[in-house]
Amino acid sequence: MIDINSIISEMTTEGSQVIIPLIQQMLGLLPDIPMIKLMVSFILWKPIFAALICPGFSTLGILLLFFPWIERKLCARIQWRVGPREVVRWLGGIIQLLADTLKFIFQEVIIHKDAHKFYFLQFPLLTFIPALLPILFVNIASADAEYPLVAIQSPYAIQIMLALICLFPVFILGMGWASNSRYAFIGTVREAFMYFAYEVPFIIAVLAMIILFGTSGSVAITEWQSTWWRWGIICNPFAALAFFIGSAMATSRLPFEIPEADQEVAFGPFVEYSGIGFGLVYIVCYEKMYVLSALMTMLFLGGGNGPYIAPLGDLSGAVWFLLKTIIVMTTLAILRPIYPRYRLDQGLGMGWSAILFLALIALVLSIIMRSVGMVL
C-alpha cells in the first residue's frame, strides 16, 4: 500500500524540488487548483524530474531527434556537401529525423520466414532496458548545488551503469541470432569479438577513476571534480583516452564500425530489420552513445560543474552537463568522416594490446596518485 501522504511530504521537503527562477514566476500564475499544483510539484520533484525531463526521457528524446541531423550535417560539411536540407528548408532540414521516424513508424514490418519471430520482435525493444536504465544514475547537478539532481542515488552508481552498459551486446547478439541470416551471423560474431576487445580495458579505465575518486557514487564524483584542474581528464588522461576509444568501440563508431560494416556485412545483426524495427535499432545506437557520453562527462569532464547561471537555478548544472555530453557525442560522431574501418583482428588486437596497456597505465597512475595522496 503506497502512502500518498508520505510521498507528498517527501516531494515538498527542502531541496527536493527543482527550482528554476526563470519559470518560477510562470508557475505562480497557474490557477490555484490543488491537483495541478500537485502535478507540477510531482514533475519538479527531483527524482522524477531527472528521470522524465533531464537527463532522462525528454532530453534523450529531443537529442535523439536532432543529434543524427547534427552528425549528418557535420559529416556533409567536412565532405564538401550540404547534408539534409530541403525538408522545411527555412529550418535547414533540422527535422529530417522526424520525417525518417514517421516513415519508420508507418512502414511495413517484415518478419522473414527464417526468423525466430518471438525474439526477432522483442530484442529491439529489450535493448532499451540497458540503454535507458543507466541514465537514472546520472547526476547532472553541479558540485555547488546543495542537493543533487539524480533519479536514483546510490554509492554504487558507476558499477551499476557499467553493468547495464555491458549487458548491451547481449541483446545485439540476440538480434543477430534471431535474424538467422548469414550476414547477421557474421556481424553478430564480429560484435561478440569486439565486445571482448573493448570490455576489459573499458572496465579497467573506469576502475582507475573509481580508485582515484575513492568513491563510485555519482554525486560524490561530481563533488570531487569541483574545480577544473581536478577533472578526471586532467588527473588521469590515460584513463580518459582508454575510455574514449572503448566507447567508440562500444558504440560501433568508425574506425571500429566492424560489426555493422555496411559494405561488408550489410549492417550485420540488423540486416533483416525493416520499418520500426530498424528505426528502433537505429535510434538505440545513438542512445547508447548518449549514455556513454554522459558517463564520460561524469567521470572525466566534471559532470555538471561550471559557472553558475542564475536564471536557470538548478538547471544550470544540467546545461553544462548536456553541453559537455553533446561535445563528447560530436567528437564520437566526427570520427565517421575521418577514419576508415579497422579489420576485426586489428580491432581485437588493439583492444588487447594498446588500449589494455593504456588502461593499465591509468590504473597504476590512479593507484599511485591515491596512495601518495597527491591531490587529496
Binding site: R72, C75, A76, I78, Q79, W80, R81, V82, G83, P84, R85, E86, V87, G93, Q96, L98, A99, D100, T101, L102, K103, I105, F106, Q107, E108, V109, I110, R182, Y183, I186, L254, P255, E257, I258, A261, D262, Q263, E264, A266, F267, V271, E272, Y273, S274, G275, F278, R336, P337, I338, Y339, P340, R341, Y342, R343, L344, D345, Q346
Partner: protein
C-alpha cells in the same frame, strides 16, 4: 506486370489513419536502394556525392533492401539480374517506389536488341522513367522530386510538348528506303592476311619460329607491325604453345577468340599470346586453328584447352564456351554457364542466332522494341559441388552479391573458414550486355558509342581503342592537333577512372569522406569533358581519323587550370585518406601478388606494374603523342593493395603532367583540321567540325579483309580490340573485346585467397573492378 500493382503503394499511403503524416514522412525519407547495374550508377554516385548531394532531399543512400523504400534501377537489367531485382523489390517493406533511369532500363537503349536484357518495367512496377544514356545527376534528382510529388498526389510527367501541325499540302507515295547495312552473304574469313610492313625484328622472330616449330605449323605470317599469326591444327596446338612458352618466353594469353564461319561449317579458334620480356612486349602472336562445326546447332565441338599451360586463358575460354559452345577440354569450368543466365538462348554468338533487325520507319502498331519475356525462376543456385565440399571441410559458404552494398554487380561465392577466406569463386555476367554480338550487326561507326558504354568511368580510352583498330586497318594518319586533343581527353578519362576506383576503394574501407573528395575532383573532370564534347560521361567524340569537332582555346585553358585545382584537392584527399594510418594498416601487406603470380593470372595494367612488371603500352607500343611528351610509367615491388593504389596515384600525377604539356603544345597549333582528309574524301570542308556530314563520311566504312588488333593502355590496363572484317560488308564480321577488368578478375580471386573476410573488399577495391567493363 499486372495493372493493379502499379499504384498500389500510393493507395497504401493514402489509406488508413494519419494519412498526411504518413505521406509527409515517406516523402522526405525516400531511402534509395541503389541498383547500380551499369553506367548510370556512375552518375547516381555523382548525384549523391558532393557535386549535387541528393541527401539534401532526405534521400539517404542505403543499399540494403529491408531498410530502403525506393529502388533506383540504374541501367541495364540483364536476364541474370532480373531475379535479383524482383527479389530485392519483394524484400522491401511497403510503401515502396521504383524509378528507372537510363535508356537501357526503358526500351533497352543502345542494347535494345540484345539477347541478354529484360525491361525492368516487366519485372517490377515502375513509377518514373528518366531518359538519358547515362542520365545526368539533375535528371536523377528530378526523378526523386517527381516521386515526392507523386506521394503528395501529383503524378505527372515533367515535360510538356507543344503540338504543331505538320504541313499537309501535297501527298505523294514514297518508297521507304532499305537498311544501310550491307552483309556479304558468304564472305571468306581470314585472320592471317599478310601485310608488308617494315619490321625487321618480326622477320627474325618468324624465321626463329619456323625453325623451332618444325612441322607443327601450317603457316606463319606477319599480319601487321607487331602481329604474327601461326596457323596450326588442334592436335598440334598444345605442342606449339609449349614450344613458344619454353623457347621464347611467352607467358600470358591476351585473348581467346572463336569465330564462327557458319557457311563454311567451321570455327576458327585463336589464342593471342605474348610475353613480358622487353622485346616481346608489343608483339602479339596469334595461334589459330580451325575446327569443324557440327551440323546440329546443339552439339559442342571439343578443343584442347591451353589453361594448363597458361592460366590466364581460363576465364576467356569459359566465356567462349558460353558464347559458341566450343568445349575446351582440360578446362574445369566447362559444365556450367559462366557469363550467361540459365535461360539465355544457347550459343548466342553463333551466326545462326539472329538478333532483331532495325526499323527505320515508325508505323502504327509496330512495337518500338522487341517484347522480352522476363525470367520466371527466382532462384540463383550455387553449384552442388561447392556446397558439398564446403560442408565436408566445415566451411561456411557466403554469397556476396549480386545486390549487396559492397559487391558490385557480380556474385562472389565465398568459402570461409572462420574469418579466413578459403576460396572466392566469381559469378560474373550480371551486366553482360552482349556487346560483341550487337557489334556484328551494326555499322562500324555505330559501334563507337556501343563500346564506349562498356566502361563509362573511362569512356575515352574505350572509344580510342576501337577507333585505333579501324584507323590501323584503313591506314589513316590522324592530324597532329587531333592526336594531341585525343591524348588530353584520354588522360582526363584515365584520371577520372582512377578517381572512380579510389572513391569505391575508400567506400569499401568505410571511408565516405575519401569517396566524396575524389568525386568532387571527378565532377571537375566531367565539367571539362562536357565543355569539350557536350556529354558528361559518354562523349563518343573520337571517330576514325580524328575527333568530331575542334576544341576551343578557352576550354583548353580551363582544362589546364583545373589540373591545378586537382592538385589542390588531391592534397586534401591524401591528408585525410591516403596517409591515414588506419587505411595504411588495412591495405599494407594485404592481397600480395608476386610478379610470377601476377603474370600467371594474366592481370594487366597498373596492377601488373605494381607487382613489378614494367609493361605500359603507352611506352611499349606508343600511340597518339605519348612518345613526344615527357612522362614516366610507374612500377612497384610490393604487389599489395597499398602498392597498387599508390602506383595508380603516382600515375595520376604523371597524367596531370601529360595534360598540361599537351595543352601547351596544342595552344601553339593552328586551329581546325582535326579529321584526317583521307577519311573525309569529298567533304574536306568539314575537317574542323563534322556536323552535317557524319553519316555521309562514316556510314559506308568498309575495312580491308583480315583481323585488325589494337591494344590500348586503358586506365585499368590492356584493352584489346580485335576486329575481323570480310572486306565487303560495312559491318564487322566479328569484334572481340578483351577489357582489362575481365583479365583482372582472376587476380582478385588469387589475391584474396587466405586473407580475412574484411580484406576481400580491400583487395576488390584495390583492383578497381568495374563489372560492366568486365562483362561487356
Amino acid at each position: 506486370m499486372e495493372e493493379g500493382e502499379k499504384n498500389r503503394n500510393i493507395r497504401i499511403l493514402h489509406s488508413g489513419v494519419f494519412t498526411p503524416l504518413r505521406r509527409w514522412g515517406t516523402k522526405w525519407s525516400l531511402w534509395p536502394c541503389h541498383f547500380v547495374t551499369s553506367c548510370c550508377g556512375v552518375e547516381l554516385a555523382h548525384a549523391f556525392a558532393c557535386g549535387f548531394d541528393g541527401e539534401r532531399l532526405g534521400t539517404l543512400n542505403m543499399g540494403i533492401a529491408r531498410q530502403a523504400n525506393f529502388i533506383i534501377v540504374e541501367g541495364t537489367i540483364t536476364r541474370k539480374m532480373a531475379p535479383a531485382l524482383r527479389i530485392v523489390w519483394e524484400q522491401m517493406p511497403d510503401p515502396k517506389f521504383v524509378n528507372v533511369i537510363g535508356a537501357c532500363g526503358q526500351r533497352g537503349g543502345i542494347f535494345w536488341n540484345s539477347y541478354n536484357i529484360v525491361h525492368p518495367s516487366d519485372v517490377v512496377p515502375v513509377d518514373f522513367f528518366i531518359p538519358g544514356c547515362p542520365i545526368t545527376p539533375e535528371g536523377l534528382l528530378r526523378g526523386v522530386r517527381a516521386v515526392q510529388e507523386k506521394i503528395e498526389g501529383r503524378d505527372r510527367t515533367t515535360i510538356e510538348f507543344k503540338h504543331v501541325d505538320l504541313p499537309s499540302v501535297e501527298k505523294e507515295e514514297h518508297r521507304v528506303p532499305t537498311t544501310p547495312k550491307i552483309f556479304a552473304p558468304t564472305p571468306a574469313i581470314r585472320v592471317d592476311v599478310p601485310r608488308e610492313v617494315d619490321w625487321d625484328f618480326g622477320k627474325e622472330v618468324v624465321n626463329n619460329l619456323k625453325a623451332q616449330l618444325g612441322g607443327l605449323y601450317n603457316s606463319i605470317a606477319i599480319t601487321d607491325k607487331n602481329r604474327i599469326a601461326i596457323k596450326t591444327t588442334p592436335e598440334n596446338l598444345m605442342e606449339v604453345a609449349r614450344k613458344l612458352s619454353d623457347s621464347m618466353g611467352i607467358d600470358h594469353v591476351k585473348n581467346v577468340n572463336v569465330i564462327d564461319v557458319a557457311h563454311e561449317r567451321k570455327f576458327i579458334v585463336e589464342y593471342m599470346v605474348s610475353g613480358y620480356s622487353k622485346e616481346l612486349m608489343p608483339v602479339i602472336i596469334t595461334i589459330f586453328t580451325e575446327i569443324g562445326r557440327e551440323t546440329e546447332a546443339e552439339a559442342e565441338p571439343g578443343f584442347p584447352s591451353l589453361t594448363p599451360l597458361w592460366e590466364s586463358a581460363n576465364y576467356s575460354e569459359r566465356e567462349m564456351h558460353d558464347f559458341f559452345g566450343v568445349s575446351f577440354e582440360g578446362n574445369k569450368g566447362m559444365n556450367e554457364k559462366f557469363l550467361l543466365a540459365p535461360d539465355t538462348p544457347e550459343y548466342p554468338l553463333r551466326k545462326d542466332f539472329k538478333v532483331e533487325e532495325e526499323l527505320y520507319v515508325l508505323e502504327e502498331g509496330v512495337p518500338l522494341a522487341p517484347t522480352i519475356k522476363p525470367p520466371e525462376e527466382l532462384t540463383m543456385p550455387v553449384s552442388e559441388e561447392t556446397l558439398d565440399e564446403a560442408e565436408k571441410n566445415d566451411e561456411m559458404v557466403a554469397c556476396i552479391g549480386p545486390h549487396h552494398p559492397g559487391s558490385g554487380h557480380l556474385r562472389w561465392i565465398m568459402r570461409l573458414k572462420g574469418d579466413v577466406i578459403v576460396e572466392v569463386n566469381p559469378d560474373p555476367g550480371y551486366v553482360h550486355r552482349s556487346m560483341e554480338k550487337l557489334a556484328e550487326n551494326r555499322l562500324y561507326i555505330q559501334n563507337v558509342p556501343l563500346f564506349e558504354r562498356a566502361n563509362i568511368s573511362d569512356p575515352i580510352n574505350m572509344n580510342l581503342g576501337y577507333v585505333r583498330a579501324i584507323e590501323n586497318a584503313l591506314g589513316v594518319e590522324v592530324p597532329e592537333r587531333a592526336k594531341y586533343l585525343r591524348t588530353i581527353m584520354a588522360e582526363l578519362s584515365r584520371i577520372g577512372a582512377f578517381f572512380y576506383d579510389a572513391g569505391i576503394f575508400s567506400l569499401f574501407t568505410g571511408h565516405s569522406t575519401g569517396f566524396m573528395y575524389v568525386w568532387a575532383i571527378r565532377e571537375m573532370i566531367l565539367e571539362a569533358i562536357v565543355r569539350m564534347t557536350g556529354s558528361r560521361c559518354t562523349p563518343s567524340f573520337i571517330i576514325p581519323g580524328g575527333i568530331r569537332r575542334d576544341i576551343s582555346d578557352d576550354v583548353l585553358e580551363l582544362t589546364r587550370n583545373f589540373t591545378f585545382a586537382i592538385d589542390t584537392r588531391l592534397r586534401k584527399f591524401e591528408d585525410i585518406f591516403v596517409t591515414n594510418p588506419v587505411f595504411i594498416a588495412r591495405t599494407k601487406g594485404v592481397g600480395v601478388l608476386t610478379r610470377e603470380d601476377a603474370i600467371r593470372c594474366g592481370i594487366v595494367g597498373p596492377f601488373l606494374r605494381a607487382s613489378g612488371v614494367e609493361y605500359d603500352i603507352r611506352k611499349a607500343e606508343p600511340y597518339e603523342v605519348y612518345d613526344q611528351l615527357d612522362w614516366e610509367a610507374t612500377t612497384g615491388d610490393a604487389g599489395d593493395c597499398l602498392g597498387r593504389f599508390l602506383g595508380r596515384l603516382e600515375e595520376i600525377k604523371q597524367s596531370v603532367g601529360i595534360v598540361r604539356q599537351a595543352v601547351d603544345a596544342v595552344k601553339g597549333m593552328p586551329r581546325g583540321n582535326v579529321i584526317s582528309e583521307e577519311i573525309l574524301g569529298e567533304y574536306k570542308e568539314v575537317s574542323d567540325d563534322i556536323r552535317g556530314y557524319f553519316f555521309r563520311v562514316y556510314g559506308n566504312l568498309v575495312l580491308p579483309k583480315g583481323e585488325w588488333t589494337s591494344i590500348t593502355e586503358a586506365s585499368r590496363g590492356t584493352l584489346l580490340y580485335s576486329i575481323i572484317s570480310d572486306g565487303e560488308s560495312n559491318v564487322p564480321y566479328r569484334v572481340r573485346v578483351v577489357t582489362p577488368c575481365w583479365m583482372n578478375l582472376r587476380g582478385i580471386i588469387e589475391a584474396s585467397k587466405g586473407e580475412r573476410v574484411a580484406d576481400f573488399w580491400t583487395v576488390y577495391g584495390s583492383f578497381g573492378y568495374f563489372p560492366p567493363e568486365a562483362d561487356r
